[in-house]
Subunit: 226 residues, 2 copies
Protein backbone atom coordinates (compact mmCIF):
# COMPACT_ATOMS: atom_id res chain seq x y z
CA UNK A 1 0.00 0.00 0.00
CA UNK A 2 2.81 2.44 0.80
CA UNK A 3 4.27 1.99 -2.67
CA UNK A 4 0.95 2.72 -4.35
CA UNK A 5 0.75 5.73 -2.06
CA UNK A 6 4.11 7.12 -3.08
CA UNK A 7 3.39 6.45 -6.74
CA UNK A 8 0.19 8.45 -6.44
CA UNK A 9 2.06 11.22 -4.62
CA UNK A 10 4.67 11.30 -7.42
CA UNK A 11 1.91 11.51 -9.98
CA UNK A 12 0.44 14.53 -8.17
CA UNK A 13 3.90 16.12 -8.30
CA UNK A 14 4.07 15.38 -12.03
CA UNK A 15 0.72 17.11 -12.55
CA UNK A 16 1.98 20.19 -10.71
CA UNK A 17 5.07 20.31 -12.92
CA UNK A 18 2.83 19.97 -15.99
CA UNK A 19 0.58 22.79 -14.75
CA UNK A 20 3.65 25.03 -14.24
CA UNK A 21 4.78 24.24 -17.78
CA UNK A 22 1.35 25.05 -19.23
CA UNK A 23 0.86 28.35 -17.41
CA UNK A 24 4.43 29.47 -18.21
CA UNK A 25 3.80 28.80 -21.89
CA UNK A 26 0.42 30.55 -21.64
CA UNK A 27 1.96 33.69 -20.14
CA UNK A 28 4.71 33.74 -22.77
CA UNK A 29 2.16 33.47 -25.56
CA UNK A 30 -0.19 35.97 -23.92
CA UNK A 31 2.64 38.52 -23.80
CA UNK A 32 3.41 37.98 -27.48
CA UNK A 33 -0.30 38.29 -28.31
CA UNK A 34 -0.46 41.52 -26.33
CA UNK A 35 2.58 43.16 -27.93
CA UNK A 36 1.95 41.90 -31.49
CA UNK A 37 -1.84 42.35 -31.30
CA UNK A 38 -2.16 38.73 -32.45
CA UNK A 39 -5.82 37.79 -32.10
CA UNK A 40 -5.45 34.10 -32.98
CA UNK A 41 -2.70 33.67 -30.40
CA UNK A 42 -4.79 35.48 -27.77
CA UNK A 43 -7.76 33.21 -28.50
CA UNK A 44 -5.58 30.12 -28.20
CA UNK A 45 -4.32 31.22 -24.77
CA UNK A 46 -7.89 31.86 -23.59
CA UNK A 47 -9.08 28.47 -24.84
CA UNK A 48 -6.09 26.58 -23.43
CA UNK A 49 -6.80 27.73 -19.86
CA UNK A 50 -9.56 25.10 -19.68
CA UNK A 51 -6.85 22.45 -19.68
CA UNK A 52 -5.15 24.01 -16.65
CA UNK A 53 -8.51 24.22 -14.85
CA UNK A 54 -9.20 20.56 -15.64
CA UNK A 55 -5.77 19.52 -14.33
CA UNK A 56 -6.40 21.53 -11.15
CA UNK A 57 -9.77 19.90 -10.49
CA UNK A 58 -8.43 16.44 -11.27
CA UNK A 59 -5.48 17.01 -8.93
CA UNK A 60 -7.81 18.19 -6.15
CA UNK A 61 -9.93 15.08 -6.47
CA UNK A 62 -6.91 12.79 -6.48
CA UNK A 63 -5.41 14.51 -3.44
CA UNK A 64 -8.66 14.24 -1.48
CA UNK A 65 -9.03 10.63 -2.55
CA UNK A 66 -5.48 9.99 -1.36
CA UNK A 67 -6.24 11.57 2.03
CA UNK A 68 -9.35 9.40 2.39
CA UNK A 69 -7.77 6.11 1.32
CA UNK A 70 -4.26 6.38 2.78
CA UNK A 71 -4.82 8.73 5.71
CA UNK A 72 -1.28 10.07 5.73
CA UNK A 73 0.11 11.79 8.82
CA UNK A 74 2.99 14.16 9.59
CA UNK A 75 5.17 15.06 6.60
CA UNK A 76 3.13 13.00 4.12
CA UNK A 77 -0.02 14.82 5.15
CA UNK A 78 1.69 18.20 4.77
CA UNK A 79 2.84 17.23 1.27
CA UNK A 80 -0.71 16.44 0.14
CA UNK A 81 -2.21 19.60 1.69
CA UNK A 82 0.62 21.72 0.25
CA UNK A 83 0.06 20.18 -3.18
CA UNK A 84 -3.55 21.37 -3.03
CA UNK A 85 -2.33 24.89 -2.36
CA UNK A 86 0.32 24.80 -5.10
CA UNK A 87 -2.33 23.59 -7.53
CA UNK A 88 -4.55 26.55 -6.56
CA UNK A 89 -1.58 28.93 -7.09
CA UNK A 90 -0.87 27.52 -10.54
CA UNK A 91 -4.53 27.51 -11.54
CA UNK A 92 -4.60 31.20 -10.64
CA UNK A 93 -1.47 31.80 -12.76
CA UNK A 94 -3.44 30.32 -15.66
CA UNK A 95 -6.29 32.77 -15.01
CA UNK A 96 -3.86 35.68 -15.04
CA UNK A 97 -2.31 34.61 -18.36
CA UNK A 98 -5.86 34.39 -19.72
CA UNK A 99 -6.58 37.92 -18.41
CA UNK A 100 -3.54 39.27 -20.30
CA UNK A 101 -4.74 37.49 -23.45
CA UNK A 102 -8.21 39.00 -22.99
CA UNK A 103 -6.77 42.52 -22.88
CA UNK A 104 -4.95 41.71 -26.14
CA UNK A 105 -8.22 40.48 -27.68
CA UNK A 106 -10.19 43.48 -26.43
CA UNK A 107 -7.89 46.02 -28.14
CA UNK A 108 -7.28 44.09 -31.36
CA UNK A 109 -6.32 45.17 -34.03
CA UNK A 110 -4.40 47.73 -31.93
CA UNK A 111 -1.83 46.69 -29.34
CA UNK A 112 -3.10 47.52 -25.85
CA UNK A 113 0.44 48.56 -24.88
CA UNK A 114 2.04 51.71 -26.39
CA UNK A 115 5.27 51.05 -28.27
CA UNK A 116 7.49 52.92 -25.82
CA UNK A 117 6.36 50.52 -23.07
CA UNK A 118 6.91 47.33 -25.10
CA UNK A 119 10.42 46.68 -23.69
CA UNK A 120 9.19 46.87 -20.07
CA UNK A 121 6.15 44.69 -20.67
CA UNK A 122 8.19 42.20 -22.70
CA UNK A 123 10.68 41.90 -19.86
CA UNK A 124 7.91 41.49 -17.28
CA UNK A 125 6.39 38.73 -19.41
CA UNK A 126 9.72 36.98 -19.84
CA UNK A 127 10.52 37.19 -16.14
CA UNK A 128 7.05 35.91 -15.22
CA UNK A 129 7.49 32.96 -17.56
CA UNK A 130 10.96 32.24 -16.15
CA UNK A 131 9.69 32.46 -12.57
CA UNK A 132 7.05 29.82 -13.09
CA UNK A 133 9.46 27.63 -15.07
CA UNK A 134 11.81 27.75 -12.06
CA UNK A 135 8.89 27.02 -9.74
CA UNK A 136 8.15 23.91 -11.83
CA UNK A 137 11.79 22.87 -11.56
CA UNK A 138 11.72 23.42 -7.80
CA UNK A 139 8.65 21.16 -7.51
CA UNK A 140 10.43 18.47 -9.53
CA UNK A 141 13.85 18.69 -7.87
CA UNK A 142 13.10 20.05 -4.38
CA UNK A 143 16.11 22.30 -4.95
CA UNK A 144 15.99 24.87 -2.13
CA UNK A 145 18.73 27.07 -3.62
CA UNK A 146 16.79 27.38 -6.87
CA UNK A 147 13.69 28.22 -4.84
CA UNK A 148 15.48 31.10 -3.16
CA UNK A 149 16.53 32.47 -6.57
CA UNK A 150 12.86 33.15 -7.31
CA UNK A 151 12.86 35.92 -4.73
CA UNK A 152 15.47 37.83 -6.74
CA UNK A 153 13.54 37.43 -9.98
CA UNK A 154 10.42 38.61 -8.18
CA UNK A 155 12.30 41.72 -7.01
CA UNK A 156 13.17 42.37 -10.66
CA UNK A 157 9.49 42.13 -11.64
CA UNK A 158 8.54 44.50 -8.83
CA UNK A 159 11.16 46.98 -10.07
CA UNK A 160 9.74 46.79 -13.60
CA UNK A 161 6.24 47.21 -12.20
CA UNK A 162 7.33 50.41 -10.44
CA UNK A 163 8.95 51.59 -13.68
CA UNK A 164 5.68 50.96 -15.52
CA UNK A 165 3.78 53.02 -12.95
CA UNK A 166 6.33 55.81 -13.21
CA UNK A 167 5.56 56.03 -16.94
CA UNK A 168 1.82 55.99 -16.26
CA UNK A 169 1.87 58.88 -13.83
CA UNK A 170 4.46 60.89 -15.75
CA UNK A 171 2.93 64.17 -16.86
CA UNK A 172 4.23 63.52 -20.37
CA UNK A 173 1.96 60.43 -20.65
CA UNK A 174 0.23 60.86 -24.01
CA UNK A 175 -1.66 57.63 -24.47
CA UNK A 176 -4.93 58.53 -22.81
CA UNK A 177 -6.80 57.02 -19.93
CA UNK A 178 -8.12 53.87 -21.65
CA UNK A 179 -4.57 52.75 -22.39
CA UNK A 180 -3.64 53.80 -18.87
CA UNK A 181 -6.32 51.46 -17.49
CA UNK A 182 -5.10 48.58 -19.68
CA UNK A 183 -1.47 49.07 -18.69
CA UNK A 184 -2.42 49.32 -14.99
CA UNK A 185 -4.31 46.03 -15.11
CA UNK A 186 -1.73 44.21 -17.22
CA UNK A 187 1.01 45.30 -14.82
CA UNK A 188 -1.05 43.98 -11.92
CA UNK A 189 -1.61 40.62 -13.71
CA UNK A 190 2.14 40.07 -14.21
CA UNK A 191 2.86 41.01 -10.63
CA UNK A 192 0.22 38.63 -9.21
CA UNK A 193 1.40 35.85 -11.55
CA UNK A 194 4.93 36.26 -10.20
CA UNK A 195 3.64 36.31 -6.61
CA UNK A 196 1.90 32.97 -7.11
CA UNK A 197 5.04 31.45 -8.69
CA UNK A 198 7.11 32.61 -5.71
CA UNK A 199 4.46 31.24 -3.38
CA UNK A 200 4.79 27.79 -5.00
CA UNK A 201 8.56 27.81 -4.53
CA UNK A 202 8.25 28.93 -0.91
CA UNK A 203 5.84 26.11 -0.18
CA UNK A 204 8.45 23.65 -1.45
CA UNK A 205 11.09 25.25 0.78
CA UNK A 206 8.77 24.80 3.74
CA UNK A 207 8.16 21.15 2.91
CA UNK A 208 11.87 20.43 2.53
CA UNK A 209 13.28 22.47 5.41
CA UNK A 210 10.30 22.77 7.75
CA UNK A 211 10.98 26.50 7.85
CA UNK A 212 8.85 29.27 6.45
CA UNK A 213 10.81 31.56 4.12
CA UNK A 214 8.21 34.09 5.06
CA UNK A 215 5.26 33.36 7.29
CA UNK A 216 2.87 35.50 5.36
CA UNK A 217 3.76 34.86 1.74
CA UNK A 218 0.20 34.78 0.57
CA UNK A 219 -0.63 38.09 2.15
CA UNK A 220 2.24 40.27 1.04
CA UNK A 221 1.57 40.96 -2.61
CA UNK A 222 2.10 44.53 -3.68
CA UNK A 223 -0.88 46.85 -3.81
CA UNK A 224 0.03 48.39 -7.15
CA UNK A 225 1.14 51.97 -7.12
CA UNK A 226 2.99 51.94 -3.83
CA UNK B 1 -13.38 10.75 20.06
CA UNK B 2 -16.10 11.58 17.55
CA UNK B 3 -17.52 14.23 19.86
CA UNK B 4 -14.16 15.91 20.29
CA UNK B 5 -13.86 15.73 16.52
CA UNK B 6 -17.15 17.51 15.89
CA UNK B 7 -16.38 20.10 18.54
CA UNK B 8 -13.11 20.85 16.82
CA UNK B 9 -14.91 21.03 13.46
CA UNK B 10 -17.44 23.47 14.93
CA UNK B 11 -14.65 25.58 16.29
CA UNK B 12 -13.08 25.76 12.81
CA UNK B 13 -16.48 26.92 11.51
CA UNK B 14 -16.59 29.57 14.24
CA UNK B 15 -13.17 30.85 13.19
CA UNK B 16 -14.33 31.15 9.58
CA UNK B 17 -17.38 33.15 10.70
CA UNK B 18 -15.09 35.40 12.76
CA UNK B 19 -12.75 35.90 9.78
CA UNK B 20 -15.74 36.86 7.60
CA UNK B 21 -16.82 39.36 10.24
CA UNK B 22 -13.34 40.89 10.48
CA UNK B 23 -12.76 41.26 6.75
CA UNK B 24 -16.26 42.70 6.22
CA UNK B 25 -15.59 45.30 8.89
CA UNK B 26 -12.15 45.96 7.38
CA UNK B 27 -13.59 46.59 3.91
CA UNK B 28 -16.30 48.89 5.31
CA UNK B 29 -13.70 50.92 7.20
CA UNK B 30 -11.27 50.91 4.25
CA UNK B 31 -14.01 52.38 2.03
CA UNK B 32 -14.72 55.12 4.57
CA UNK B 33 -10.99 55.83 4.87
CA UNK B 34 -10.73 56.05 1.08
CA UNK B 35 -13.69 58.41 0.60
CA UNK B 36 -13.03 60.59 3.68
CA UNK B 37 -9.22 60.55 3.29
CA UNK B 38 -9.04 59.40 6.91
CA UNK B 39 -5.43 58.44 7.57
CA UNK B 40 -5.94 57.05 11.08
CA UNK B 41 -8.75 54.80 9.90
CA UNK B 42 -6.65 53.60 6.96
CA UNK B 43 -3.75 52.79 9.31
CA UNK B 44 -6.04 50.85 11.62
CA UNK B 45 -7.33 48.72 8.73
CA UNK B 46 -3.76 48.00 7.60
CA UNK B 47 -2.68 47.03 11.11
CA UNK B 48 -5.78 44.91 11.79
CA UNK B 49 -5.09 42.62 8.83
CA UNK B 50 -2.45 40.87 10.94
CA UNK B 51 -5.26 39.45 13.05
CA UNK B 52 -6.95 37.92 10.00
CA UNK B 53 -3.63 36.44 8.88
CA UNK B 54 -3.07 34.97 12.33
CA UNK B 55 -6.56 33.44 12.37
CA UNK B 56 -5.91 31.96 8.93
CA UNK B 57 -2.63 30.36 9.95
CA UNK B 58 -4.09 29.08 13.20
CA UNK B 59 -7.05 27.58 11.34
CA UNK B 60 -4.74 25.89 8.84
CA UNK B 61 -2.72 24.30 11.60
CA UNK B 62 -5.84 23.12 13.43
CA UNK B 63 -7.32 21.66 10.24
CA UNK B 64 -4.13 19.79 9.40
CA UNK B 65 -3.88 18.58 12.97
CA UNK B 66 -7.48 17.37 12.75
CA UNK B 67 -6.72 15.48 9.53
CA UNK B 68 -3.72 13.82 11.17
CA UNK B 69 -5.40 12.89 14.44
CA UNK B 70 -8.92 11.98 13.32
CA UNK B 71 -8.32 10.87 9.73
CA UNK B 72 -11.81 11.77 8.55
CA UNK B 73 -13.18 10.28 5.34
CA UNK B 74 -15.99 11.10 2.91
CA UNK B 75 -18.06 14.17 3.85
CA UNK B 76 -16.06 14.95 6.98
CA UNK B 77 -12.86 15.00 4.96
CA UNK B 78 -14.44 17.31 2.37
CA UNK B 79 -15.54 19.68 5.15
CA UNK B 80 -12.02 20.02 6.51
CA UNK B 81 -10.42 20.49 3.08
CA UNK B 82 -13.13 22.98 2.09
CA UNK B 83 -12.56 24.90 5.33
CA UNK B 84 -8.92 25.31 4.36
CA UNK B 85 -10.02 26.82 1.05
CA UNK B 86 -12.59 29.12 2.65
CA UNK B 87 -9.95 30.32 5.07
CA UNK B 88 -7.65 31.13 2.13
CA UNK B 89 -10.50 33.04 0.41
CA UNK B 90 -11.20 35.08 3.54
CA UNK B 91 -7.53 35.75 4.18
CA UNK B 92 -7.33 37.11 0.64
CA UNK B 93 -10.38 39.34 1.32
CA UNK B 94 -8.42 40.79 4.23
CA UNK B 95 -5.49 41.54 1.91
CA UNK B 96 -7.80 43.32 -0.52
CA UNK B 97 -9.33 45.49 2.22
CA UNK B 98 -5.75 46.33 3.26
CA UNK B 99 -4.94 47.25 -0.36
CA UNK B 100 -7.88 49.69 -0.46
CA UNK B 101 -6.68 51.22 2.82
CA UNK B 102 -3.16 51.55 1.40
CA UNK B 103 -4.46 53.54 -1.58
CA UNK B 104 -6.24 55.82 0.93
CA UNK B 105 -3.00 56.25 2.90
CA UNK B 106 -0.93 56.87 -0.25
CA UNK B 107 -3.09 59.80 -1.40
CA UNK B 108 -3.70 61.37 2.03
CA UNK B 109 -4.59 64.22 2.64
CA UNK B 110 -6.43 64.02 -0.71
CA UNK B 111 -9.09 61.43 -1.40
CA UNK B 112 -7.85 59.00 -4.05
CA UNK B 113 -11.37 58.92 -5.54
CA UNK B 114 -12.82 62.04 -7.28
CA UNK B 115 -16.04 63.34 -5.74
CA UNK B 116 -18.22 62.46 -8.71
CA UNK B 117 -17.26 58.80 -8.31
CA UNK B 118 -17.89 58.66 -4.53
CA UNK B 119 -21.44 57.26 -4.88
CA UNK B 120 -20.30 54.36 -7.09
CA UNK B 121 -17.32 53.49 -4.89
CA UNK B 122 -19.44 53.81 -1.73
CA UNK B 123 -21.98 51.40 -3.16
CA UNK B 124 -19.27 48.95 -4.24
CA UNK B 125 -17.84 49.07 -0.73
CA UNK B 126 -21.23 48.54 0.89
CA UNK B 127 -22.09 45.65 -1.42
CA UNK B 128 -18.70 44.04 -0.83
CA UNK B 129 -19.22 44.29 2.92
CA UNK B 130 -22.73 42.85 2.62
CA UNK B 131 -21.52 39.99 0.43
CA UNK B 132 -18.97 38.80 2.94
CA UNK B 133 -21.45 39.27 5.82
CA UNK B 134 -23.83 36.97 3.95
CA UNK B 135 -21.00 34.54 3.29
CA UNK B 136 -20.35 34.42 7.05
CA UNK B 137 -24.03 33.76 7.67
CA UNK B 138 -24.00 30.98 5.09
CA UNK B 139 -21.04 29.35 6.83
CA UNK B 140 -22.89 29.54 10.16
CA UNK B 141 -26.34 28.43 8.94
CA UNK B 142 -25.57 26.31 5.83
CA UNK B 143 -28.50 28.19 4.26
CA UNK B 144 -28.32 27.34 0.55
CA UNK B 145 -30.95 29.93 -0.47
CA UNK B 146 -28.93 32.69 1.18
CA UNK B 147 -25.83 31.38 -0.60
CA UNK B 148 -27.54 31.71 -3.97
CA UNK B 149 -28.45 35.33 -3.18
CA UNK B 150 -24.77 36.19 -3.23
CA UNK B 151 -24.69 35.66 -6.98
CA UNK B 152 -27.18 38.50 -7.45
CA UNK B 153 -25.20 40.85 -5.22
CA UNK B 154 -22.10 39.94 -7.16
CA UNK B 155 -23.86 40.83 -10.42
CA UNK B 156 -24.64 44.23 -8.88
CA UNK B 157 -20.94 44.74 -8.05
CA UNK B 158 -19.95 43.76 -11.57
CA UNK B 159 -22.44 46.30 -12.96
CA UNK B 160 -20.96 49.03 -10.73
CA UNK B 161 -17.48 47.98 -11.81
CA UNK B 162 -18.49 48.41 -15.47
CA UNK B 163 -19.98 51.82 -14.62
CA UNK B 164 -16.71 52.83 -12.98
CA UNK B 165 -14.78 51.82 -16.09
CA UNK B 166 -17.21 53.74 -18.28
CA UNK B 167 -16.37 56.89 -16.31
CA UNK B 168 -12.65 56.16 -16.59
CA UNK B 169 -12.63 55.83 -20.36
CA UNK B 170 -15.10 58.66 -20.96
CA UNK B 171 -13.39 61.39 -22.97
CA UNK B 172 -14.65 63.93 -20.44
CA UNK B 173 -12.48 62.31 -17.71
CA UNK B 174 -10.68 65.24 -16.10
CA UNK B 175 -8.93 63.68 -13.15
CA UNK B 176 -5.65 62.72 -14.78
CA UNK B 177 -3.91 59.43 -15.15
CA UNK B 178 -2.67 58.98 -11.56
CA UNK B 179 -6.24 59.09 -10.29
CA UNK B 180 -7.22 56.82 -13.17
CA UNK B 181 -4.67 54.26 -12.01
CA UNK B 182 -5.95 54.47 -8.42
CA UNK B 183 -9.58 54.06 -9.46
CA UNK B 184 -8.70 51.15 -11.76
CA UNK B 185 -6.94 49.28 -8.96
CA UNK B 186 -9.54 50.07 -6.30
CA UNK B 187 -12.30 48.83 -8.64
CA UNK B 188 -10.35 45.63 -9.16
CA UNK B 189 -9.88 45.14 -5.38
CA UNK B 190 -13.63 45.37 -4.72
CA UNK B 191 -14.39 43.02 -7.55
CA UNK B 192 -11.88 40.40 -6.35
CA UNK B 193 -13.10 40.76 -2.76
CA UNK B 194 -16.66 40.03 -3.95
CA UNK B 195 -15.45 37.06 -6.01
CA UNK B 196 -13.83 35.51 -2.95
CA UNK B 197 -16.99 36.04 -0.87
CA UNK B 198 -19.07 34.35 -3.57
CA UNK B 199 -16.53 31.56 -3.72
CA UNK B 200 -16.95 30.93 0.03
CA UNK B 201 -20.74 30.70 -0.34
CA UNK B 202 -20.45 28.36 -3.32
CA UNK B 203 -18.17 26.05 -1.39
CA UNK B 204 -20.84 25.79 1.33
CA UNK B 205 -23.48 24.98 -1.32
CA UNK B 206 -21.25 22.20 -2.60
CA UNK B 207 -20.75 20.78 0.88
CA UNK B 208 -24.49 20.83 1.60
CA UNK B 209 -25.87 19.68 -1.74
CA UNK B 210 -22.95 17.81 -3.26
CA UNK B 211 -23.46 19.90 -6.40
CA UNK B 212 -21.21 22.56 -7.82
CA UNK B 213 -23.02 25.85 -8.40
CA UNK B 214 -20.35 26.41 -10.96
CA UNK B 215 -17.48 24.05 -11.55
CA UNK B 216 -14.98 26.77 -12.20
CA UNK B 217 -15.83 29.41 -9.61
CA UNK B 218 -12.24 30.16 -8.82
CA UNK B 219 -11.31 30.70 -12.43
CA UNK B 220 -14.04 33.02 -13.67
CA UNK B 221 -13.29 36.36 -12.09
CA UNK B 222 -13.62 39.29 -14.43
CA UNK B 223 -10.57 40.62 -16.17
CA UNK B 224 -11.32 44.26 -15.58
CA UNK B 225 -12.21 46.32 -18.62
CA UNK B 226 -14.19 43.65 -20.44
Amino acid sequence: MRDAYHEELDSIGDSLVEMARLVGSAMGRATTALLDADLALAESVIAADEKVNALHHDLENRAIDLLARQQPVATDLRIVVTSLRMSADLERCGDLARHVAKVARLRYPASAVPHDLHPIVLEMGQLAQRLVAKAGLVIATKDVDAALELERDDDAIDALHRELFAHLIDERWQHGIETGVDVTLVGRYYERFADHAVSVAKRVVYLVTGEHVDEFVASTDGAGPE
